[in-house]
Symmetry: C2
Subunit: 194 residues, 2 copies
DNA sequence: ACCGTAGGAGAACGACCGTTTTCGAGAATG
DNA sequence: CATTCTCGAAAACGGTCGTTCTCCTACGGT
């Protein structure tokens, strides 16, 4: 009845793996560290994920889904199309401000393993494509020209890496300022073309 | 007299190390691979660089200096302050178009080792700071407000990671377009304030 | 109470990595 | 020619990693 541990074994493994992989990098984390952090014995660990590669893949896929879901949830608290676009950068600021923030897990994984593992490279690419599609929707709803999407992507990606390396969340503010300017220019462009 | 190999041993090691570290990631490359690629025996290799860590540090420092020197050289072929700013993104396009382009070596190294090695983290931060200072100079000469610098940094960094993961140099064009818009807005801002 | 089985803790194994050492071939010196 | 020294090729060493295996405990069914 009263489940003290509401998590399933798979979740406990993934939680530990995510914290370690994201926090220290994938190659720096051994299966033994995941075993210790999760409390799941090595035998069960390999019954659940038959290899480290599959565990890495599961870590990336789960993080991908949750990241985009959290972003969309935050954006959904705003109504106006323009505010929804700018809210993306507010959410980035909150993310960058987290204690454990260490940059984008997909950029990091790609830099570390993209040349070695086609799977990791594909997942990173798919994640960035999904993010771009999400921004494209926001841009379309705001009646802004499609090229604004590519520019907003650059601001967001640049903010992630700059915030990670510099260690401050400020890049999110600068990105938001730039996004506001570009959004205004995009609207002016539409008006001019009409 | 007629030196068939004009390079010194240290240069041959660094050339091999750079190609391998940048192309495959640092942890994925063993000292034996560097020995094979450089043709320098392991003994001499360790006489020149007493540990892998020092070799990694030398790789990053040399790449840092050369990267900024090459960028400045390209920018110096332009005269007008505005064109010099935009030339940064033209140079990025050329860089992204290289066959061996695998993203920014410092972002990659930071993602892979930034949490483990303070030295790597510091070098990456110093590299990005130097890049920011260079842009700040270009911005100052163009009589644009200082906040434009931060926005241009984001565009450049975002273009690097997006180009790396997507595999096309196009993000450089989008960044240049956005930079043009932001530059115009910045000038308008200065005029308004005056 | 007994046996069979599942499951956990950790040893074991083979591969690899960073680093050091050995060894032998050749050049330099008397 | 004998001796010493240099230096490159590769073996060796200690450690770690991903993965498997062994053993032991504890429990369920009869």
């Amino acid at each position: 009845m009263s489940e003290v541990e509401p998590e399933t074994t798979e979740q406990r493994i993934l939680d530990a793996a995510e914290e370690l992989f994201y926090g220290r990098g994938i190659q720096s984390v051994g299966m033994d560290a995941i075993r210790t952090a999760s409390g799941v014995p090595l035998k069960r660990l390999y019954q659940t994920f038959p290899s480290k590669d599959t565990l890495v893949e599961a870590y990336l896929r789960r993080r991908d889904a949750r990241w985009l879901r959290d972003l969309a949830q935050y954006v959904d608290t705003y109504d106006s199309p323009e505010q929804r676009i700018l809210a993306v950068f507010d959410w980035l600021f909150l993310w960058f401000s987290e204690q454990e923030f260490r940059g984008c897990g997909f950029i990091n994984s790609f830099g570390e393993l993209g040349a070695t593992s086609q799977t990791v490279a594909d997942i990173a690419k798919a994640h960035k494509d999904a993010f771009r599609r999400y921004l494209a929707d926001l841009v379309a709803v705001a009646d802004a020209p499609a090229w604004l999407t590519d520019q907003l992507v650059l601001l967001a990606e640049g903010a992630m890496t700059t915030a990670a390396i510099s260690g401050t969340p400020e890049p999110a503010r600068h990105a938001k300022d730039a996004a506001r300017t570009l959004l205004r220019a995009a609207h002016a462009d539409v008006v001019t073309a009409a």
